[in-house]
């Protein structure tokens, strides 16, 4: 243990954390003013010369006809940028003869696409799961009832044979359903336990 290490340790205790709190607060990130972020056209300046659309390396700029009648743009063609194709090289900003582009340092362009597809997958899988859950609950109910009945019969003493039989059948069926459900929803342990229970009941009988 050297003394220099102690110094390092002490400074680290009082130093503020390296980690930026970014997605929660925006306080401690420094984005340079001229960071190449979201950029768009000032429609009142654009002359519709299409130079940016010709030079765009990823063909992200489409000249679109918008009837604005601002006077500066005789053909009413305005560049619309597809930010999913844009590579933010800012060649359009540099090349524009009338400096019509407005630049920002906004980088928060995250977009949730096809949220319904992921949700759809969930819906599908959870529907299947829900059906299985209903089956599970029903078979558990039958199981409990038949176990109670059986216990009652055993405690009372084996006198009436037909009721024992029906309770036994109910127990077996519900156990089998439970086992199959267990296999389907992926809980092997439950399935195995139930199968052992069935076997045990069978041997006893």
């Amino acid at each position: 243990m050297k003394l220099s290490m102690l110094k390092e340790a002490l400074t680290n205790i009082i130093r503020k954390p390296i980690t930026k709190t970014y997605p929660i607060t925006k306080r401690d990130i420094e984005i340079p003013e001229l960071h190449r972020g979201l950029h768009y056209v000032d429609f009142s300046k654009c002359t519709g010369c299409s130079l940016c659309a010709i030079d765009c390396p990823s063909n992200a700029i489409q000249m679109t006809k918008i009837e604005l009648k601002l006077g500066t743009n005789p053909k009413n063609l305005y560049p619309i940028i597809d930010y999913e194709k844009c590579v933010f090289c800012y060649h359009c900003v540099y090349i524009c003869p009338v400096k019509a582009y407005i630049t920002t340092n906004n980088f928060e362009l995250v977009r949730v696409t096809r949220n319904n597809i992921a949700e759809f997958q969930y819906e599908e899988s959870s529907k299947r799961r829900d059906k299985m859950t209903i089956l599970l609950v029903i078979s558990l109910l039958i199981y409990t009832v038949s176990v109670l009945l059986l216990t009652y019969i055993v405690v009372r003493g084996p006198t009436v044979s037909d009721k024992v039989l029906s309770a036994d059948v109910a127990l077996y069926t519900s156990s089998v359903i439970l086992a199959i459900t267990g296999i389907i929803i992926g809980s092997e342990a439950m399935a195995i336990c139930t199968i052992i229970l069935i076997l045990w009941a069978y041997i006893r009988a």
Partner: protein, 145 residues
């Protein structure tokens, strides 16, 4: 609904480079270092596809690695999410039209979230991860301070 609740507090990320220029990859690498630290949201790199919940695709999809991507996607247990990171993965970027590319990641796998940029900043990647987490109900990470 069960498994959605399970992964929402700690989804693990698998990163696959399908033919990127390394720009997105080094920014992704920077995004998992202490300065950005996604582990406060429970997110960390998965060592293999079987452990992963979120697949991050970077780079233009070339024909050979698109088959790998499909295989990786099938290996990840459901529920799974795909993030397309960078212009190339989303739409082909400057490489659109090349003879050895498939155009975009969403042709091969369903993409849940796109992070535009060339390359996106680590902050943008973090924001993307957090947005995805919020969609599945997690992402209430707190940091010190």
């Amino acid at each position: 609904m069960i498994s959605k609740n399970i992964i929402k507090y700690s989804p693990w990320i698998l990163h696959f480079n399908t033919g990127a220029c390394n720009g997105c990859d080094i920014e992704f690498l920077a995004a998992i270092t202490p300065a950005y630290d996604p582990e406060r949201f429970g997110v960390r790199l998965a060592p293999n596809p079987r452990h992963a919940d979120i697949l991050v695709v970077t780079g233009a999809l070339n024909k050979k690695s698109s088959e790998r991507l499909k295989r990786l996607y099938e290996l990840i247990p459901s529920p799974k999410y795909v993030i397309a990171c960078g212009a190339c993965a989303i739409s082909g970027g400057v490489f659109a039209g090349s003879y050895s590319l498939r155009l975009k990641a969403s042709d091969i796998v369903p993409v849940d979230l796109t992070i535009p940029g060339c390359p996106p900043r680590p902050e943008a990647i973090l924001l993307g991860i957090k947005t995805l987490l919020e969609r599945i109900g997690g992402g209430n990470g707190r940091t010190r301070k």
